[in-house]
């Protein structure tokens, strides 16, 4: 019977692909969960090497891709939900495949407790929690509380790889009954003058007191302590120092793990990707993979669509950066700030469910860094004009801004205007639309391997 159900679910997926209604990446799982509500637990239990979960507001797709690469290069078979279907039905769809493997899944923040409860993973990687799509997830604090309940109930066999620099994550991880490996950055050189406006966790989860940030690296990530109750950042097991940012090209850093020291050359830009790499390396270490081997895997990381990946078109080159919340957008803007100006930009703001219906967040991101730095700007998506207004009030010359709600057509315009690389900043569904447009018009492969969150 179970096999029959699985075949039926797969057949539904095949139909959905043939009918052109999506990539068949979640429908089989949805069907399977109707036929067998315990499918996640049952199929997950058949993974020969157990499972690993990766969750975070920002960077879970990239971190999971990195960790997956590390595990594969160590010679193990990996079963991963690469299509970005990171809710239970997406994971069940993935589990219909060959289960003689280590299951490695990125999981939506809101669904992590349920998925972890069903899979009882060997390792959970907790990256960060930021203000994100408040209409969908609610307040950051409520996600942190649901994670805290999850962690308290974990078995001793589950290891955590956790971000010491995120006070929300660190306080959640501290209550784990099992082993916790922390990662973090210690580098005065890349510290911001003050936590940026979009910083969230200003208060101590333990006592409600106001946290003091001795150094801020990104949003509310940094070196902090609570003067009221004495809570301090845990000492990280894996530390990055001597960080060098190379604009949109990449980042390098010295990593210290116990007594060993390594130099990381990461082909992805920004402090945010450094955090992703630290999370993946810490996770790999917890799985018994040699740190040097893990680093090697990073240097040959295949690009993930929409994550700083260059796309070459007949009219020119575009670099695409997914933006979906203030902290993520700020980090992309920080990378662009290091590029030689003036910049040619395409920004696409959609307000569908997967983007967050509420577009308020663009007013929390620091687009002010673009003032005086742009040559041409095209705004697109269902809320193109609101994006344009945001840029106008950030100090971008309104005469240089064009508004065109149509994604594909506006991209063609933007590429035409650009004299060098076009920097493209779409929200999630705008990225998917762009991908479809490029696939239909540019003979590119469809990207079912493509973007997650």
């Amino acid at each position: 019977m179970p096999e029959l159900r699985a075949s039926l679910a797969r057949a539904i997926g095949g139909l959905s692909r043939i009918s052109g209604k999506g990539g068949g990446t979640t429908l089989p799982g949805r069907a399977m969960l109707v036929l067998d509500p315990s499918a996640l637990e049952r199929l997950g239990g058949q993974l020969t090497d157990g499972s690993v979960l990766v969750s975070a507001t920002n960077g879970k797709t990239t971190t999971a891709a990195m960790l997956s690469r590390m595990v594969e290069q160590s010679g193990q078979q990996v079963l991963a939900n690469r299509a970005g279907s990171n809710m239970p039905w997406g994971i069940v769809t993935t589990l219909l495949d060959d289960r003689e493997a280590l299951g490695l899944f990125e999981v939506d923040e809101a669904w992590l407790p349920e998925v972890a409860g069903s899979l009882r993973p060997r390792l959970i990687v907790l990256g960060n929690l930021f203000r994100d799509q408040l209409d969908r997830y609610g307040e950051t604090e409520s996600i942190a509380s649901s994670w805290a309940r999850l962690v308290e109930g974990l078995g001793r066999e589950t290891v955590l790889a956790a971000n010491a620099d995120d006070p929300l994550i660190a306080s959640v991880a501290a209550d784990s009954p099992g082993r916790v490996l922390f990662f973090g950055i210690e580098d005065k050189g890349i510290a911001l003058d003050a936590p940026p406006h979009a910083a969230d966790a200003r208060r101590c989860r333990r006592c409600g007191g106001r946290l003091v940030f001795d150094r801020s690296y990104l949003g509310h990530l940094g070196e902090y302590h609570c003067p009221a109750c004495g809570l301090s950042r845990p000492d990280p097991d894996l530390v990055a120092t001597e960080v060098e940012l190379h604009g949109a090209e990449g980042v390098s850093a010295t990593l210290t793990l116990g007594t060993a020291e390594f130099r990381l050359e990461l082909p992805l830009p920004g402090v945010y990707n450094l955090y992703n790499a630290l999370a993946a390396i810490t996770g790999a270490t917890a799985l018994g993979i040699d740190a040097e081997e893990a680093l090697l895997a990073l240097e040959s990381l295949p690009p993930v669509f929409g994550r700083a990946e260059p796309v070459r078109l007949p009219e020119g080159e575009a670099r695409i950066f997914l933006v979906k919340n203030p902290v993520g957008a700020n980090e992309v803007l920080r990378s662009l700030d290091q590029e030689e100006g003036p910049l040619d930009l395409w920004l696409a703001l959609n307000d569908r469910i997967a983007d967050g219906r509420d577009v308020s967040w663009i007013w929390d991101a620091d687009f002010e860094t673009l003032a005086g730095e742009t040559r041409s700007v095209v705004c697109s998506g269902s809320r193109a004009a609101e994006m344009a207004v945001r840029l106008k009030y950030a100090g971008v010359n309104p005469e240089s801004i064009q508004v065109d709600h149509e994604i594909g057509q506006s991209m063609v315009t933007a590429i035409g205007e650009a004299t060098g690389t076009l920097y493209a900043l779409p929200t999630y569904t705008a990225l998917l639309e762009l991908k479809d447009y490029l696939a239909d018009h540019r003979d590119l492969d469809p990207f079912w391997e493509g973007p997650g969150q």
Binding site: L134, R203, S382, R383, A384, E386
Partner: protein, 261 residues
């Protein structure tokens, strides 16, 4: 004499959850472009102020924990000043959590009743049902002018107006105060409480300009108009926000009493 607007933001560090700073930026730029001097002031926990020091007050929304922390402080350190400010006919904009705090009663995250400032004759209870979330459009009336206001709401609280209280507007699409009686927000003299959260002014340039006009001449029933600005992008953004709310209504099709246009 140069004209000047002094904007006082209450609890900017605690109450900023939905990008409330977009409102401040919008007001600042629209003053600067007209040659009106703009001064931004803040009053946080423990800080008092005099109603004479400000021409316009803004108070935003925060996470439950922050709203709780601010509620008691507001009563302790700012009750008299806020009340006097409103009664002087000066303009105040209270958004989301800030709107609740200025009512008679509101409800904490775990459902306990809390005393509010009572500047607005409204009270808020923690709803037992779902949070009221979505794009919203309202027909409002300010300074005798009818205007459409569009934005986004996200609240668990259900707010009811007192017997003599005037709503800020009538819901065209979305939930408003409680999802039942079709009212949105509250208007008292020139002070507004509303659930349209975060950066509502960038979506509603006309409302922003009316607030500025009131800030410049609070006691004039017909304050002189401000110099016009080139607002084509702003009006397009306003239309997008209205469209989002009306699309929302079409999808849900659950409101029988509809007035548009």
């Amino acid at each position: 004499m140069t004209e000047r607007v002094r904007l006082l933001t209450l609890y900017p560090d605690e109450l900023n959850i939905y990008a409330d700073r977009g409102n401040l930026l919008f007001l600042r730029k629209r003053c600067e472009w007209r040659g009106i001097e703009f001064e931004a002031k803040e009053a946080g926990p423990g800080e008092s102020f005099s109603p004479e020091e400000a021409d316009l007050i803004y108070i935003g929304g925060g996470q439950d924990r922050d709203q709780e922390a601010v509620g008691a402080d507001l009563l302790e350190t700012k009750e008299e000043a806020v009340t006097a400010f409103v009664e002087m006919g000066k303009p105040l904009l209270a958004v989301c959590g800030g709107f609740q705090l200025l009512g008679r009663r509101w409800s904490s995250g775990d459902g306990e009743e809390r005393e509010g400032l009572g500047v607005f004759d409204v009270s808020t209870e923690r709803g037992t049902g779902k949070r009221l979330i979505g794009a919203v459009a309202v027909e409002a009336n300010l300074l005798g002018e009818r205007l459409l206001v569009a934005g986004f709401e996200n609240h668990a609280g259900r707010t009811r107006l007192g017997v003599g209280a005037t709503p800020f507007g009538t819901v065209i699409a979305g939930y408003g105060n409680n999802g039942e009686d079709g009212t949105e927000g509250v208007l008292r003299m020139n002070s507004i409480g509303t659930y349209l959260h975060g950066p509502l002014l960038p979506k509603n340039p006309r409302l922003a300009d009316l607030l500025l006009a009131l800030a410049l001449s609070p006691n004039d029933p017909n304050p002189p108009g401000l110099a016009p600005l080139e607002d084509s992008l702003e009006m397009a953004a306003h239309q997008e926000a209205l469209d989002a709310a009306l699309r929302n209504r079409k999808n849900r099709n659950r409101r029988s009493r509809v007035r548009t246009g």
